[in-house]
Symmetry: C2
Subunit: 347 residues, 2 copies
């Protein structure tokens, strides 16, 4: 007997009203056991009448399952991550999970803190898209919380990984630019310690070498995935002599920044400078933009990551899986044949 002016009705209140035991109510709730139709009916009525809502926290405490996954992304404001997040939430809902969101800017400690809090909140699993993984991940190798890596993997981490073949994507871009007559191709990297950035850089190098293109040290730099930094970097690259005829940025944000940088110093895109991005965020397809880029299946990446995580949560113990999804290079309006002088300089 505990029912006067309490906040929310509990399973006990329901039991009382339905004249059954709490255990029976619980059974009805989980639609699982053998409960007589008569009891079930009474319980259902009581639930309805009382406006009862199960307390998921109590359930979780008891069952040791919160039916919650944690998602850590650097920045929800970045459309690339937003798309992944959308895929993740959708798949999570369909699999019966709630989604806890944490943003951890690109720092190891932030990632660590976020993961720590998520673990304390008893998430059943973790989705990690952030950097700093190499170091920060080790701790919860020990804990039993399964996790899957999205877009960036970590050398030390033995966990499922979902992404694309960044290396070959980057190669394809360089080959395409080469085919357009470009010989001086600049590269703007993202975060040097992100596997995705590293792989793209590697692919870039490999293709340059394969095509016998030389690379000026002035034509390579990193802009931390930041629009502004890429803008400034390109401005300075365009001061060099001979200047690049094409810029390949390791992500769309930087490519867009590069574009603004070029425009700000009177260099026309694509006539004077071709620009290629990476990721294929939606805005690259807009009428005013039409950025050439490598389109990743971002939404599907998010979905797939949750599926794999779900399997792990269910107890799957197979060795770490790697799932590489197909990407697609899209040549759009920011790439054109290299300017004459550029080609001549090679012949």
């Amino acid at each position: 007997m505990s029912g006067h002016a309490r906040q929310h009705p509990t399973i006990k209140d329901v039991a009382e009203r339905a004249q059954v035991s709490p255990a029976t109510v619980s059974s009805v709730l989980r639609a699982n056991k053998n409960v007589s139709d008569i009891s079930r009916q009474k319980v259902l009525e009581a639930i309805e009448a009382l406006g009862y809502r199960p307390n998921r926290l109590a359930q979780a405490l008891r069952t040791q399952r919160s039916r919650t996954v944690g998602l850590i992304i650097p920045d929800i404001t970045n459309p690339f991550y937003a798309d992944i997040a959308q895929g993740a939430t959708d798949q999570a809902r369909e699999s019966g999970y709630g989604l806890f969101l944490m943003t951890a800017c690109e720092s190891e400690t932030a990632l660590r803190q976020a993961a720590e809090e998520l673990v304390q909140r008893q998430v059943d699993g973790l989705l990690l898209t952030s950097v700093g993984l190499d170091y920060a991940i080790t701790p919860w190798q020990l804990d039993k919380v399964p996790y899957v890596l999205v877009n960036r993997y970590a050398k030390t981490a033995v966990a499922d990984y979902v992404g694309i073949d960044n290396r070959s994507g980057a190669q394809e871009v360089v080959r395409f630019l080469h085919g357009l007559g470009h010989r001086r191709i600049a590269f703007i990297g993202g975060l040097p310690h992100s596997s995705a950035s590293r792989d793209r850089l590697e692919g870039f190098y490999a293709a340059m070498q394969e095509l016998d293109l030389t690379l000026s040290p002035l034509h390579i730099g990193f802009a931390d995935l930041q629009y502004d930094k890429a803008m400034k970097l390109v401005q300075s690259m365009l001061q060099t002599e001979p200047r690049p005829s094409a810029v390949f940025a390791a992500d769309d944000m930087m490519a867009l920044g590069a574009w603004e940088g070029a425009q700000s110093v009177g260099v026309r895109v694509p006539q004077d400078l071709s620009i290629v991005g990476f990721d294929g965020i939606w805005s690259t397809a807009w009428a005013g933009i039409q950025l050439s880029t490598v389109v990743q299946p971002r939404y599907e990446l998010g979905r797939l990551a949750v599926s794999l995580l779900h399997e792990r949560i269910q107890g799957l113990t197979s060795p770490a899986r790697v799932r590489l999804l197909p990407y697609q290079f899209m040549a759009r309006r920011t790439t054109a044949a290299a300017p004459i002088d550029s080609v001549r300089s090679i012949n």
Copy 2:
């Protein structure tokens, strides 16, 4: 004695190792009571040694506070909501809350379900940015979960509201276009049942009237905040005769779609057609875009919403508050003086 091969150490394990009672450990954890330095020391050491992490779920169950807020947005993929979400997560973290994310596409039942689940998960408060509010909100008027409305308010809901003065923002846009010589201004609305869309439409009407401008019924329509729909809508608007010389879209996404629509039928922006958006998502400022728009303080909206919510959770009972933040109209590259024939047609 309960400690062989258990998953995670509990407060009991810590107590045992530190040779104190669980109650003492708890006191140390919350840095609150009178605990002797000697005990505290022992406890801290035990925590360290065992790698103990408090179980936030158990804490929540006991204290009836989950230190969690729920955020419901239509679509995390929409930069406008992403910015709000970022502000919300940041402020939430600073206030000691975790953030549960749910997306509920623009439907009443989806919103209802999302809120329902969040309540079951015992969030301390709710942030609502979705539509369908008028109907769906009523239920948890009854429950004790406080909530605040962001960007859209509901007539029936008596709750804190955070937004901007959409009506006057829209008026400002029309006046600006009028000043540029535009006389035939089309309007693309978002969701008719969203307060934000309604207010913008209202402001549009008011200004048109105030300036003695007539409005063809062919020059007004709704595109559900969708890029594609706006694109098609504008295509058909441009078939009308006389056609509009300016389009005012109730959100940036639609403005961008309108742009593509115009381009697809050979109408130049801004020479033949001026376009204005609303919200001021970041991409409108990019080099390739430069969309004229009404810039909302999206990030601050998200932050403020959480602050207000926090106060409510603390027990504040003052009547519903309305917080209107300043906006800023930015005339950029998609607006220009009306074409000659357009002006002439008025004189």
